[in-house]
Symmetry: C2
DNA sequence: TGGGTGTTTTGACAAATGTCAAAAAGTAAA
DNA sequence: TTTACTTTTTGACATTTGTCAAAACACCCA
């Protein structure tokens, strides 16, 4: 819980009555490796924060699985489109390690946003951060080689190699596993 | 101004005192073709809405120019990172046609967000919309061929070919002009 | 220890896209 | 209409990445 609150403070320091009220609506949970937090076709009602473990967000493209995002410890994740638009998700989310998480229900978040301007502001900043990240990733995908994308990922997550199978990393980088293997060999 | 207000209502219908107060802080402007709204290296203080014309957002990658976004009529645009993080922009913005725009200054927007919860909410929804768009574009770039991306662009902007040089479109799609030319020829 | 299973690498070749140079087409002004 | 200029297309070839199949490696556990 401490890590979560610290992350939230980074975005916006809620004044005290709201801070603890906001803290209260996060539900702590723990699941084994392989557990699905979200199956494709259902609406993503929760915004997650992972304190320990790894989550993988993926979808089916024709017959293949495509990894859209890898969430390591101390990060937020969810199906952006499904959560905000309240539509069935084309994404699924499962855990690559036994994990500990906090989950925040969409409706409870929205209620608190309606009630407290401060919560709304904090949430707005959180989304703004996601938008900036999303832009950076887009530029990376569009204008860097597989090699460069791999280096960038390693720089941001030095221990990802030990924790996530290469097939998922390759898919996340937008290349095949074989290409990733060759890129790695070249250095 | 009507178009702008209609777009804003789509996101969130502001109640009346705030709606007109919000409308007041948008500054109308008109510039000739080629005018730079933002030069790289300076902070992007304005969020723009274009009512007539085309704006191109681009940056320098080594010796080349890369088109990051093309904003046709009735859309919002700005340098996301610079505007939110208040840092010098690596992006520049200029106009491909004589254009009419509305501009909203960062500080005025933030002041109104602080003052009115409703404005904050509307702005939050606006950013949420950008985030969803950004996600969709990311998937498109990562998992579609040049051919498919071209078709998608045309479907969303049928008149873009008449208004934007192919070199810019190619760059926006993340391919070279020659490849775009061949993709076009193949249908 | 030795299968058995899943993961990662390698090889041979195909497909997509990039690069550079030149030709063709289009546009605008004299 | 002619010229000068810009934009778009084409050609030849190089590079990157993908595909499919097989080999090498790593790990678990009986």
């Amino acid at each position: 819980m401490e890590e979560l609150l610290r992350k939230l403070d980074d975005m916006y320091c809620l004044p005290e009555p709201m801070r603890s009220e906001f803290a209260k609506i996060w539900q702590p949970m723990a699941y084994p490796k392989g557990h699905h937090l979200l199956r494709d076709g259902s609406v993503n009602n929760y915004l997650y924060f992972i304190t320990k473990g790894v989550a993988r967000i993926y979808y089916h493209k024709q017959d293949k699985e495509v990894t859209e995002w890898l969430a390591l410890d101390q990060t937020f994740f969810f199906s952006i489109r499904s959560f905000f638009q309240r539509t069935p998700s084309h994404l699924a989310i499962h855990l690559l390690e036994p994990s500990e998480l906090f989950a925040l229900h969409h409706d409870q978040l929205m209620q608190l946003c309606d009630r407290y301007h401060e919560v709304e502001k904090m949430f707005r900043r959180m989304i703004t951060g996601s938008l900036v990240l999303s832009q950076i990733r887009m530029e990376s995908i569009q204008f860097e080689t597989a090699q460069q994308r791999y280096q960038r990922l390693l720089a941001m997550n030095p221990d990802i190699l030990q924790r996530v199978p290469l097939a998922y990393i390759a898919s996340f980088l937008g290349i095949t596993q074989e290409t990733l293997s060759r890129v790695r060999g070249a250095r």
